[in-house]
């Protein structure tokens, strides 16, 4: 026997960005509670709009499942006292389990006898559990931001205004912050009315008739089809940015797509500015022509029906006009600003109390970038572009446009620099030095952008580490992980021949010489190296390199990122694709284990190699040693691994017929030295012992 459960929490408008996660959370909590309560069901569906979070449980059993479980108590030794009576401990256990000692049985576990009781409980009515269960779920809900309201001592994402709680047609008795659950939900704020939900299965349709589409997917499809229809009719391309769609989806209960227009004269303002203004301020979708150029239209989604869309479009146009007038004003004012004057203003912007002004930061970026340019052996003309880019990379931070739209930093810098006559590469590099801005973003395409981006990011990381701002757990306010990952990504994608230590050294030297306070401890370098190590490992696992392969390859060092990535990928290929690679790995691991016993600095004496197999191994190793190292140096990882694998048969033959730990001390030392030599080579590639089969 089963009935459906409906639970709807009616709220004042929940922040759009929290809704999806809150909906999932409610669903998870209900599902977990049902499981823990042993109430069987046929699935939980979740719904959400700005004003409600809801779950519908199909076919929930009317009674809990019966259960019978054995509970283990104290051991016989403890349970019985000297006279064979039940001890205090045993009686306490009986009490805690709600049974009489007569019900105890003894059972052996690992040679010791323990008391057991078998508790069987007959499942009780689901209806009698729901009130407490749902209250517990509401109390347990967490949100990124909570609030209090009225005179209630209760925190939730927004005030709760109504609740529907039904088990079949029965109302579940439930009161939170003075709101008593019932069977009455509320429709669309303006188009709908209160509506009785006779039974859970009618929920979606009952609200539909009150102009609320509770199904998120349905609203999404409606918005998308509205936008697509408009695009088709008008031959537009409407850019649907996913996070904006997600937000709009949770701002409306009944979506109706409409469009408006703005004065084409505003198209003289850079496209990015117009798009940002429309998206960020107004939640509009920008409209493009077939040629990809921005058109003077916008698309928005109304929370309501198609009545008086013209009035709404006109209102939105008026708002946008004021916004774009501001943008135009900022754009024109900003162009009166000389780059040098802007740079002077950077001295007044505090970057970080302990790390000085933005002006200070820029001087460090310049000095680090110059050092990196030397390391990378850039030609003089490129190095000059690097220096100029570094000097002016932050000037747009003091422009009014960036003040209004911080996300346009770099974009405005590029535009204004070009207008001020800066070289094309330099202008472009101003934008690019922020790249990669997020996971999956492109890396800079210009060398100046690349080098300044490296310098900016390593300056931030070294600066923060030096004053104790080191990311822990979820704490990473300066997004240092993202910046380190950006450095790793840039080195890799541009195949830069620069090591992490060289990058650190450039930044540390500059910080030591330009900052009056010295905070550098020897651990700083170690911390930095470990921090980057984690980013490298992350990058590798993101590229589907197995965890043990990552560990094996990084154990041979990750200072040179191009090198470690090459080795990891080659190793991953071999592990998954080369037929008898396990034999190679086993033999190299064995070499490594024995090599650990070798005395340091023992030189191999070929004349002591008496047995054929050890001579063979020595010769094979000698023949591969140079080509192997050359392949490694040339970053031909796959080739190096192939050469190294050539040792396999000789090693196997060696272990099959040669006794390493020979009686003769000199012979033994010599054999160990041979293995140690081979191991030294193999460890340049990976610690093969870390691989798991």
């Amino acid at each position: 026997m089963s009935k459906d459960i409906l639970f709807e929490i009616g709220l004042e408008e929940i922040p759009a960005r929290f809704i999806r996660a809150a909906m999932e959370q409610l669903k998870d909590r209900i599902a977990k509670w049902l499981e823990a309560s042993r109430i069987s069901h046929n699935g939980v569906s979740a719904y959400a709009t700005p004003r409600r979070l809801a779950v519908l449980v199909k076919d929930a059993a009317e009674r809990q499942e019966d259960v019978s479980e054995e509970v283990k108590g104290p051991s016989r030794k403890i349970a019985l006292d000297a006279s064979g009576e039940w001890s205090k401990a045993a009686l306490g256990f009986a009490r805690s389990q709600g049974v009489a000692p007569e019900q105890f049985t003894f059972k052996e576990l690992a040679g010791v006898e323990y008391i057991y009781v078998t508790k069987s409980s007959t499942g009780i009515e689901t209806a009698s559990l729901l009130s407490e269960g749902l209250t517990g779920i509401v109390n347990a809900m967490t949100f990124p931001k909570n609030m209090r309201w009225g005179a209630y001592d209760f925190k939730f994402v927004r005030p709760i205004r109504w609740m529907v709680a039904l088990f079949g047609q029965e109302i579940i008795d439930l009161t939170i912050t003075g709101v008593k659950a019932g069977n009455v939900s509320r429709g669309h704020r303006f188009l709908g009315k209160e509506t009785v939900i006779a039974e859970p299965a009618l929920y979606v349709e009952a609200l539909r008739s009150q102009h609320v589409l509770v199904d998120v997917k349905e609203r999404e499809e409606l918005i998308l089809s509205g936008i697509n229809k408009l695009a088709e009719e008008k031959s537009w391309k409407i850019a649907i940015k996913e996070d904006l769609l997600e937000e709009v989806l949770f701002l409306v209960e009944t979506p109706t797509v409409l469009f408006g227009t703005f004065d084409p004269a505003f198209l003289n303002i850079p496209q990015d500015v117009l798009i940002t203004s429309m998206r960020e301020h107004q939640r509009y979708f920008p409209v493009f022509g077939e040629d990809g150029k921005l058109l003077p239209f916008f698309v928005t989604v109304r929370n309501g029906n198609a009545v008086s869309l013209d009035v709404i479009a006109k209102g939105n146009e008026k708002v946008l006009r004021a916004r774009l007038q501001d943008a135009k004003f900022f754009y024109e004012e900003d162009q009166k600003l000389q780059i040098n004057d802007a740079l002077a203003k950077l001295e007044n912007i505090v970057y970080h109390e302990e790390l000085g002004s933005v002006g200070d930061k820029v001087r460090r970026i310049r000095a680090i970038a110059d050092r990196l340019a030397v390391k990378l052996a850039l030609p003089a003309s490129t190095a000059a572009e690097v220096s100029r880019t570094a000097d002016i990379c932050k000037f747009d931070l003091v422009t009014q446009m960036v003040g209004e739209f911080p996300e346009l930093q770099g974009t405005m810098g590029e535009d204004y620099a070009r207008k001020a006559g800066e070289a094309d590469n330099v202008s472009k590099a101003i934008f690019e030095h922020y790249q990669p801005r997020f996971a999956g973003d492109a890396v800079p395409s210009t060398e100046a952008g690349l080098v300044v981006s490296l310098a900016d990011k390593i300056d931030t990381i070294v600066g923060c580490f030096s004053i104790g701002i080191i990311p822990t757990g979820s704490q990473d306010p300066y997004a240092l992980r993202r910046q380190a990952a950006g450095i790793v990504q840039m080195v890799l994608e541009h195949q830069l021949s620069i090591s992490l230590q060289e990058i650190f050294a450039a930044a540390l030297e500059v910080h030591e010489s330009l900052r009056s306070e010295k905070h550098f401890t020897p651990e700083l370098r170690i911390n930095l190296y470990e921090f980057f190590g984690l980013r490298v490992k992350r990058l590798l696992s993101d590229n589907n390199v197995r965890y043990d392969v990552v560990d094996a390859a990084t154990a041979a060092g990750f200072d040179d990122i191009v090198d470690v990535v090459g080795r990891s990928l080659a190793l991953m290929n071999a592990v998954t694709g080369v037929a008898d690679f396990k034999i190679t790995v086993d033999s190299l691991t064995r070499v490594s284990n024995l090599a650990a016993k070798a005395a340091e600095g023992t030189v191999i004496d070929p004349s002591l190699l008496k047995e054929e197999a050890e001579q063979k191994l020595y010769q094979t190793w000698q023949s591969i040693h140079d080509p192997y190292r050359e392949a490694l140096t040339a970053l031909h990882a796959a080739e190096a691994l192939q050469i190294l694998s050539g040792l396999k048969d000789a090693v196997t033959g060696f272990f099959d017929s040669v006794m390493v730990m020979a009686e003769d001390e000199a012979v033994r030392a010599n054999r160990l030295a041979l293995l140690s030599g081979i191991n030294a080579d193999s460890r340049l590639f990976a610690d093969f012992g870390k691989l798991v089969w």
Binding site: E12, P50, M147, R148, G150, A151, L251, V311, V319
Partner: protein
């Protein structure tokens, strides 16, 4: 509906909800929240319902009367109700209807906006209300006031009167709004806008303003030593406005800025804490008025 009718309509609407109507406070301030009828009265357990118009000065928004949307001084219509009633959103929407805004013909939305006033140690959660994409109201549940947890919670509704009027009257330029028939907003406020902008950006005596800030701060402290909450708070407001004038003049660097804000906040916190103490000494008299219109 002209500007004056809008004010009268809102006053009448909220008076009918048992709000007392007070008049604008006579000390310069940047927002209606800073009026002691909000800042102080939203503290503590006593119930409170009030509505008023607040001319609010934002020196850095001055545009010499040339910008159609930005003003040195604009008008807020402010409603404070403590504890926040359960039907407050519906009441608010009814007030829009009273102003002639039919939600069925428009797009009215509550878009998340969390409000903070660091210099007064205030924070709240709520929304900006959008009317066809235009922000017309700030709707906030106070969570903290003067650094003190708000309990019970007061709800604050702040109508941006010029924005709302420009929509209702369908005017592009704030100075074209009708205050009453035959008298525009510009007729009343254009000259002060020009003069205040000129004064703020070009004429104000920075040295004097710094001196005033220190003097006001000192006087606020002296008043606090004597447990005179309301006089002390007046000087806190003067500090705040003086700081805004200095800031608009570009006389305060970014580094110093934090320092000044901290000074004002510390004063505001002391005033808030002392206000609570003084009300407690009086036995929170408004709690005893149960059954009166206030509750």
């Amino acid at each position: 509906m002209n500007f004056q009718q809008m004010i009268l309509t809102l006053q009448q609407f909220w008076a009918a909800q048992n709000c007392i109507l007070v008049q604008p406070y006579d000390t310069e301030k940047g927002a209606g929240t800073m009026n002691p009828m909000t800042f102080l009265r939203s503290l503590g357990p006593e119930p409170w319902k009030v509505a008023y118009v607040e001319p609010s000065r934002r020196p850095s928004d001055g545009r010499y009367g040339e910008n159609p949307n930005r003003l040195y001084q604009h008008h807020q219509f402010q409603v404070i109700i403590k504890p926040s009633p359960d039907n407050i959103q519906e009441l608010y929407l009814d007030s829009l209807k009273a102003l002639g805004v039919d939600p069925l013909l428009h797009d009215v939305r509550f878009v998340e906006d969390n409000w903070e006033n660091p210099s007064l140690g205030c924070a709240g959660l709520g929304w900006e209300v959008w009317l066809d994409g235009m922000e017309i109201t700030q709707f906030t549940y106070f969570q903290q006031v003067g650094g003190i947890e708000a309990s019970p919670v007061a709800v604050e509704i702040t109508y941006g009167m010029e924005r709302l009027a420009s929509y209702i009257q369908d005017k592009e330029n704030v100075f074209d709004l009708e205050w009453v028939d035959g008298m525009t907003y510009g007729d009343v406020f254009h000259q002060p806008e020009v003069e205040h902008s000129t004064y703020t950006f070009e004429v104000s005596d920075v040295k004097m303003l710094f001196t005033l800030f220190n003097t006001y701060e000192e006087e606020a402290r002296r008043a606090m030593e004597n447990h005179l909450v309301f006089p002390a708070y007046d000087y806190v407001l003067k500090c705040s406005h003086t700081f805004n004038l200095l800031d608009a003049r570009g006389a305060i660097s970014v580094t110093e800025r934090t320092g000044f804000i901290t000074r004002v906040r510390n004063l505001a916190r002391t005033v808030a804490a002392t206000y609570l103490e003084e009300r407690e000494k009086l036995g929170f008299p408004l709690l005893k008025k149960e059954g009166a219109d206030l509750v």
